[in-house]
Amino acid sequence: MAGVLHALYKKGRDQWLFQLRDSEPGTVTLTMRRVFIVPTRAGMMFAVLLLVMLVGALNYNLGLGFALTFFAGACAVADMVLTARNLALLQLAPGRAPPVFAGEEAQFDLYLRNRSRRDRYAVWLGFQADGEPRQAVDVVAGGDSAVSLSAPARQRGWLVAPRVRLVTRFPLGLFKAWSYWQPDARVLVYPAPEWPAVALPSSGAASEDGHGTVGLDNFAGIRPYQAGDPMRHLAWRQIARHDPALGGQLVTKHFEGGAVAELALDFAALPLQMDLEQKLSRMTGWVMEAEQRALPYRFRLAQHDYGPAHGEAHRAACLQALALFGLDGQR
């Protein structure tokens, strides 16, 4: 019974009072209705002080004492208004959220836009779940500010940005105004690469063709540098002889065999006894390894069959497939 009541209370508080809502697309404006305010501990102390001052002024019949007390009280009220206005009508927009590997921290870029004619100082931001916000930002009148909040990415798949809490105590610190915002942002979390890394599948189709291992041992000369060539394949000796600044050009060592031999990363070829996440981790590690060595690779996972290729786009497609494998409804 108590549990039900507590749940009802929480629901009422969050939905009716704090109006927590799902993410809203695009830019969100913090209307006055969404800004909440309570006195801080210092504010409560101040209230007690005012009472003491009032009693003192009464007891000693101090006309100026009354004036001081009432003015101080009115300053607190003004502070309340200004604190709420420090948040109100601030515009919020999500920014970039680059993919991360599971176990890393996901970074959410958030933008605060101030279209009003007054500066906003000392606005603290943080994810609601993290307790008191620890990042502060100022937004000058008519300006933008960016903040980056990080949240741990524990599982592969889409990580929706947690709810953001904005808090301010400016200007006098007697009141705390806060507001909630669910940014419309998510981060793709790739599976964590297997550690320690396992060597790339060496016995691929290439060895069956009799070309030996998929190797880089068949040096076939040099060719002009093309965008995307890995750094380690640059022919440093030749480059050093013809300084690029003096009209020389970058040259890349060219290997034979790599193009013919096909490196295939096939999910289905992994040992059966491995569990799903382990398999995904290994595939991820291989993709990274192949990318690092600039080996074109074929990628097979369920209905996905990419490549052979290498490069940023290929890598992203493969990792996305790995991240979302088996997670229905997430695209």
Partner: protein
Amino acid sequence: MSSARLALRLTRDKSDTLLLLAASLMVLAPHFAHLPLWISALACATLLWRAAITWLGKRMPPTWLLVPIAVAAMAGVYRSYHTLLGREVGVAMLVLLLAFKLLEMHARRDLFVVTFLSFFVLLTNFLYSQSMPTALWTVLTLLVLLTAQQSFQYTSLVPTLAHRLRITLKVGALAAPLALLLFVAFPRIQGPLWGLPGDANSARSGLNDSMAPGTLSSLAQSDDIAFRVRFAGAVPAQQQLYWRSIVLGDYDGRTWTRVPRKRGLQRLEVAIHARGAPVRYETTMEPSNTRWLALLELAAPDLSVPGFRLRDSDEMEQFTTEPVTHRVRYDAAAYLDYTLQAGESPQRMMHWLELPAGFNPRTLALAQRLRAATPADAPVQQLSNAVLTRFRTQDYRYTLEPPLTGANAVDDFLFTTRAGFCEHYAGAYVVLMRAMGVPARVVTGYQGGERNPVDGYLTVRQSDAHAWAEIWSQQGGWQRVDPTAAVAPERVERNLARALPRPAPFGLAPLLDLQNNPDSWLAQLRFAYAALNNSWNQWVLDYNPDRQRSFLEELSSMFGHWRTALGAVLVAVLLAVLRWQRARRPVDALEALYAAFCRQQLRHGYGRAPSEGPRSYAARLRTMPASTEKHAAMEQFLHLYGMLKYGAGGTESRSASLATLTTLLPLCR
């Protein structure tokens, strides 16, 4: 964090702390005027120490060092005041506490403790002074204090000090109307809520119920205000302004005291014949810490002082049952032309003839001679005139610094020193009259007052304290005689300040003349300031329950006037109709937004022509001088409106578009 930013942050903490120190110094400074020297010095030293720590970036002193210092300071306070209770001691300890707290400030919480303590110390300063300069200083201090408090709230971006002061001013400007409303309307209770500590009303001067040589002349050096008076009609002539306070009848050869009231004695029937209409006036009396009132002679009997019960005596004195410890305001009336106790049987006046035996033999002999020189059936005025003539013709001087007199004070004064203040003249006169068999008594009170031409208030100061005499005859009753007027008539005709030639140092006499000449600009300035000060007292310091009631009544009667009331009702009806009109308007949110947009632009002189559609309107608005953001917002607003209105359709839902329009609207302002 780079080292450069670290250094920046440190300097910022430094400047914030120094600002707080400046605010604390401003809070403490007014208290130095009344605190023992060592406390002021200790507080200053503590502030300096803290400033040095901040400036040099040193560590704060450890607790084991601070605790003994604090304990020693408390012991010092006990040594200075011989108590740890009471108002003065409390203020001293608060001052020390604030200074020490600055040395023990680590967390943000401590910052609030310091500022809140400062607020309270500011309040305690009003126990000592509530003048306009004090108020001005308090306002300045508050500005710095609030700016310091605000400075600690910033995170990375910190505006300049001037900008922060502006923000504080904004807070103050927002607060001022509310503070004023609270001040006027907050229900006032007449304090105190509980018994005041014994020293609450110390250091007040005023008339006493005894008079020895030197009593009044010491009072005459005091510039303190005794009371202020506003007459309902014309101000009576200066020679008629005798403010009666205490009647002294018992004389022991040196000191005049009141005639003690004997227990169980029947009150006399005092016969008063008043002629003419009474003069009505309102008195604002400064706290005197005594029970005596000073009333214009002769006070009408229907007197009431709010908050006090009154007593009166056969000698036409009026006094309260409790000492007056706060400023009171009361209405009174006086009959300038009266006869008091005429036709009384002489037997009942016998005790106004008593003189102590063995004192002042030469005076008694003089009285015998004067009596012998006058016919036995001559009126008492003739005897009185003989004495006054002696004062006038025999080289008597009027001075604030009379020479000391011996055991036979009146003898010494009359025959040796011949220099005295009103108390000497009044005392000697009464002794002489009694010695000649005329019932006589000394009356003390105030004479005159300074009229401020700016606001019409008459200010009576302690320096206007005066003593005069009354003599009795069966035909005339008690009659006022002012022996001082015989010696220094200007004392009565004008006022004391001009009656006494004051020594002017460094050849500043012309300046003093300037001040005393009521038409000079300096005097005008002085009067204007005094008038301002008086309204300050009347409206700020002394806004008590009565004044509040009368002010609010005045306000309500102003609104009670039928024309004002009608106007207010009309305005209210108009507002209601406007509201109703607004509520009646079609509730189409889109049209409302568009109308609001058009109204906004109309204010810039770009109202929408009735024939203009959103597209042509947008084209015209592009020619408006405004920021790029505004142009972008207007463009987007009109585009979105056109799409919604004419069904071109968009990617967003209608409600989302409306929300966008709502957010765009303020940007188009």
